[in-house]
Symmetry: C2
Subunit: 404 residues, 2 copies
């Protein structure tokens, strides 16, 4: 498959679905006609759905893992940037009808690779010399990896307080990493976009709109779940700005639109209780929201501002926006580890949301977004040395509850 | 597929191929009849090859990623332990006929998950209460993950000098981690095996034999390469004890034996130049070897002792045992990062070996074993804060060679 396989036709406003724009250039400042100084509305990508070959979404498991997002090229923006075998992640059955979609199996070990295959493809499509991204984590490292693969420069505006392991990660792919205080990131990002030929692959607007092609990449999670499991009752998603939540929702909505699925799952946003702008906006009946964020170790989803995409996903799917405490996420993280899956704390928010919510009659999918190696706790030595004798070993085993 | 699909029939000595044993119990002390006080010989698993359905290895890409090693159950020991969607990793084309088999996409982000699915299955098969492993890295964490998934205990005899991030990793899955000096590890491991009902999933013998079922898991790398690419000219493999090298070799040898492939690839062992017991043994015409290891950052493959498996793989395939310096591995690591793949230093040994060796007429596969997150360098802050003004950003961009 090549970029030429894409059936994308244009961009449509989420602020008013009757407003559409050409596919190029990607509207990285959101919908210019509906956005206000208070609320920015994203655009999404439109396709000629009537030309989709229904074999594309058959249950046959066609397409090998190595093919990455290319398998779904007709329902994605043109994939002009080379891939890294992103996507195709396993759905791990943890019992009780619960399945974990383990996104840590991606090229940079998080779901963000699905987004950045699409955003860096946009940068290639507009002929940019590089990309710029504001991120202190998975988003930035993934952008750096796909930019390197495409032969583009990458500038990362990182937070000065990022964990050291994340700093190593961001630097690994040859990006120019600029640690700056939070407040300076977006003004500097806008300047970098305006003064250099750098395509922005993270958000630029007052409420979150992100890159119009990015969430499209997340639709492939829905396609993969569908080909393996059918339509689950519910999907629980760790939620920061709501791009992942929306992308998974849109994928299922498309399956129904294409007549392949009879129904859609309920989408559950799982935000840290320390913040939760989406839950707050929904409670207040607003179209998006901003909220102060208290202390939390779930640094990947501790967002103070929501995006309109999350509202759309929860409302249209008949879902809910839940908040989960750090303690609940730690408990879910332990449960995942007990099944052999070591997830970043934020990644466990999906399972934490499910455990707090209750049971379902049919299968439920919890998306686990990233690897435990991104956790803040990584690198603090935990194991104490043991006396290297049999007695020393025995006494340690007994201390840890091992039946001796 | 279930454990019942396995066509495994018994264990055969690598010391004398005419000697065979029943499949159970797994001979974790190597071949009792051919091993001496100086050299231990492993056993391998035998199958009723004539009963293999040739569809199993068709190029159709049958079997989804989520199915893990189960796809290949007939040619593996009984998979009694539950899987985690291990294997099915992408083959990334980096140009010039070179493909990288990226094993960092496994459940614990290294190739060891293929081995441990099989070794922990052996522990389940013998009804052990748990497993014990001597490791300060990928092998131990992977064993801990599969043991947790199977509901078994896991004791890890780690090195007191392991990197802190690896310590977090080993502890993540609920294992009992016992850091002890190198010399104490194997005596204590033998005691744990003898006195408790713990199945050993790493080596117990004087030269390396490892677990007889472990290398079988690595055969699936050959099967996956074959279904996607056919038979490459050569495979370059980061080599410590030679289990991975042997497993990949055996997989290709089986494909030829089954009449599915016309030939086999040349197998290249890539050891750190600071040691290199396999290269030394081959030079000296010995059947295995022991050698002092100097300083190297490739801690995952800095072995002082070789195993007979590596000798078999290099000799039977017409391959070679190469050594690569840390500088060559760093250069290969940078090359991989420039393609969007961040590998642990040891993981880059395969590509380093190829780059030092020269070109081939046909496709070549370099196995990249693990993620950059396991590197010793992780966690040392690299990025200096930048003055958060446009002038500050400009001056940093210029300092890093960015065209402004």
């Amino acid at each position: 498959m090549t970029a030429g396989d894409s059936l994308a036709t244009g961009q449509r406003s989420l602020g008013d679905k009757d407003i559409s724009y050409p596919l190029w250039p990607p509207l990285t400042n959101g919908c210019p006609r509906t956005s206000t100084d208070e609320v920015a509305y994203p655009v999404e990508v439109d396709y000629t759905y009537e030309r989709v070959n229904s074999d594309l979404l058959s249950h046959s498991g066609r397409g090998s893992r190595g093919s990455g997002l290319d398998r779904w090229a007709p329902l994605l923006p043109p994939l002009a940037a080379p891939g890294l075998g992103e996507g195709g992640t396993p759905l791990v059955d943890i019992g009780g009808g619960v399945f974990v979609k383990d996104e840590s199996r991606n090229p940079t070990w998080s779901h963000k690779d699905r987004l950045n295959r699409c955003t860096v493809s946009a940068a290639v499509g507009v002929g940019a010399q590089g990309v710029v991204v504001a991120s202190s984590g998975n988003h930035g490292a993934s952008a750096a990896a796909f930019a390197a693969r495409a032969g583009l420069r990458c500038v990362v505006l990182a937070s000065d307080g990022m964990p050291p392991a994340v700093d190593t990660f961001l630097n690994a792919y040859g990006a120019t990493v600029l640690p700056v205080p939070e407040a300076a990131r977006w003004p500097l990002m806008r300047q970098l976009v305006e003064r250099f030929d750098l395509h922005p692959v993270s958000n630029l607007t007052v409420t979150h709109t992100g890159h119009p092609f990015g969430a499209e990449g997340y639709k492939t999670i829905a396609y993969e779940i569908f080909t393996e499991l059918g339509v689950p009752e519910a999907v629980f998603v760790p939620t920061g700005y709501g791009e992942l939540l929306f992308g998974v929702w849109k994928g299922f909505a498309e399956l129904k639109r294409l007549g392949l699925a009879q129904r859609t799952p309920r989408m559950f946003a799982c935000e840290p209780a320390a913040g939760g702008p989406l839950a707050a906006a929904l409670r207040a009946g607003r179209l998006t929201g901003r909220i102060p964020v208290g202390p939390t170790s779930a640094y990947a989803i501790d967002c103070s501002v929501a995006g309109h995409r999350g509202i759309v996903a929860v409302r249209e799917s008949g879902g809910e926006a839940l908040v989960v405490s750090d303690e609940e996420m730690r408990s879910a993280q332990s449960e995942l580890a007990g099944q052999g899956l070591w997830a970043e704390l934020s990644s466990a928010a999906g399972l934490a949301g499910l455990r707090g919510y209750g049971a379902f009659d049919g299968p439920v999918v919890c998306v686990s977004t990233s690897s435990g190696f991104k956790d803040l706790s990584v690198g603090s030595r935990k194991s104490e040395a043991v006396e290297p004798t049999w007695d020393g070993v025995l006494s340690r085993l007994r201390a840890t509850g091992f039946p001796t």
